[in-house]
């Protein structure tokens, strides 16, 4: 078996550092996912409005998010705001802002799709029972929307977790950055470490995303 240089992970505090890096990545992504889900549900409801102004605005927002690479957004928020507004945002906060901005748009679009897929008769039969539009949303439309959203949003959530690796570009030390540091530090005595360490990073991402897919599968089964 070729030398994968896995022994570098056991040196000093390397394993703890790499797990700490994973913690940072997960903290950023889970916080952003949470914000995206709640804001995305509101955004999705807004997107179904027939008002032309809200329509145009939400459409623009979605297009901007889709067209702009996340990295550009990160640079814009992290470096741009410092120059223009004199804000000194930390790398992590900038990351959460950018990922929430992105997630809210994408989630909003998923919510919009799920909302308009609820048949109009569901609204009518609820209205015929004397429910107000607030009650119809709360008891009939949202529960069904959430069920339809699960498989779609899991895809988005895992994508968000994976994309957090970009934040190393604005100086946040997350799992991939730690991995690079470890590899750099051991370049001379363990030149093969790149493979082993990146493999470990791959496995860590897998371990982070796998339970989410499992949970989604279980929920889908229960709510079928």
């Amino acid at each position: 078996m070729p030398d994968l240089g896995l022994e570098v992970l056991l040196k000093g505090k390397n394993m703890a550092r790499i797990l700490g890096g994973l913690g940072v990545a997960l903290r950023i992504s889970l916080l952003s996912v949470m914000i995206s889900i709640f804001a995305g549900i509101l955004m999705g409801m807004l997107m179904t409005w027939k008002n032309p102004i809200s329509r145009a605005l939400t459409r623009c927002y979605l297009e901007v998010v889709r067209i702009m690479p996340q990295m550009v957004l990160l640079f814009l928020v992290y470096f741009g705001t410092t120059r223009i507004f004199g804000w000194n945002l930390s790398g992590e906060l900038s990351a959460v802002i950018v990922f929430s901005f992105w997630g809210t748009a994408e989630m909003g679009d998923l919510v919009r799709g799920a909302l308009i897929s609820i048949p109009v008769h569901q609204y009518e039969s609820a209205a015929a029972l004397g429910m107000t539009s607030g009650q119809i949303y709360r008891y009939i439309v949202l529960p069904q929307t959430v069920r339809r959203l699960i498989p779609l949003s899991i895809n988005l959530i895992t994508r968000m977790i994976k994309t957090t690796s970009l934040v190393l570009m604005i100086g946040v030390v997350e799992v991939l950055k730690v991995a690079q540091q470890i590899i750099e530090a051991n370049r001379m005595n363990s030149p093969n470490a790149a493979f082993g360490v990146y493999l470990t990073v791959f496995l860590l991402y897998f371990i982070a995303c796998w339970p989410i897919s499992m949970l989604a599968g279980a929920l889908e089964k229960r709510w079928r």
């Binding site: 008769h121 209205a127 015929a128 029972l129 004397g130 429910m131 709510w223």
Partner: protein, 252 residues
């Protein structure tokens, strides 16, 4: 005689420049069962949807025991609680169990206690023979069972009038019977109902009064025996003929 339950005066309903209901006037007394028949597209379903303010109306008025029913009235949700409606496609809520489908509106809208609503729901389910399905989900039921649940869901709100919109049109023949039996039972209990149906035998059995609607106008109205035996208008005669079959081909 007490006041009528429902009064419709000079109702006009238009979709764009097409007038679907032209000057409909109809009074429904307490305990009366009205059956509305007519060819497809004559406005029967639209009439029911107007009575429940699911459609905006362009003229005339609809009053439920004196209270105006209109899509713009502020207490619309309150008034709709007093009108039960059952749809052709059942429209149970797929994410809720049968029992929860039934008690959702009584508990959340009428703020009744969960225990009391549940007790009534189970009693009503027993009456339509579905007591053991209380914890099932709509997708596990047959069409006829779903429709009976939908009827129970409407009943549990204690409506003053029930509207049935072609409730058997989507069902297999054997299932039609079980649903119609439930509605006949309700008629025997003296519930006030307006029923839109294509089942002429059933219409004759259940109706106190038959309304024949064509092109948005009430063309004829009368007792079931009179309407089905000797309809007054040519159009009604023709319509009823479509439900009988004759063989014209002679045997050679």
């Amino acid at each position: 005689m007490s006041d009528p339950v429902l009064e419709i005066k000079h109702l006009v309903k238009r979709f764009g420049d097409q007038t679907v209901l032209k000057d409909i006037t109809l009074t429904v007394e307490e305990g009366e069962v009205i059956v509305v028949v007519g060819p497809s597209g004559c406005g029967k379903s639209t009439l029911l949807r107007c009575i429940n303010a699911l459609e905006e109306i362009q003229g005339g008025e609809i009053r439920l025991k004196g209270a105006e029913v209109s899509k713009t009235s502020s207490n619309l949700a309150k008034i709709r609680q007093r009108i039960g409606m059952v749809f052709q496609s059942y429209e149970l809520f797929p994410h809720l169990s049968v029992l929860d489908n039934i008690i959702l509106a009584p508990t959340k809208v009428q703020k009744r206690s969960k225990e009391e609503a549940k007790e009534e729901a189970l009693a009503l389910l027993s009456r339509v023979g579905l007591r053991e399905k209380a914890d099932s989900f709509p997708r596990q039921l047959s069409g006829g069972q779903k429709q009976r649940v939908a009827i129970v869901r409407a009943l549990c709100m204690h409506p003053e009038i029930l509207l049935f919109d072609e409730v058997t049109a989507a069902l297999d023949p054997e299932m039609v019977r079980e649903v119609l039996d439930v509605i006949l039972g309700l008629a025997d209990q003296g519930k006030t109902m307006i029923i839109v149906t294509h089942e002429m035998q059933f219409a004759r059995a259940v109706a106190d009064r038959v309304i024949f609607l064509e092109e948005g106008v009430i063309k004829e109205e009368g007792s079931p025996d009179q309407f089905f035996e000797e309809p007054k208008t040519e159009r009604a005669k023709e319509f009823l003929k479509t439900f009988t079959f004759e063989r014209k081909r002679s045997r050679v």
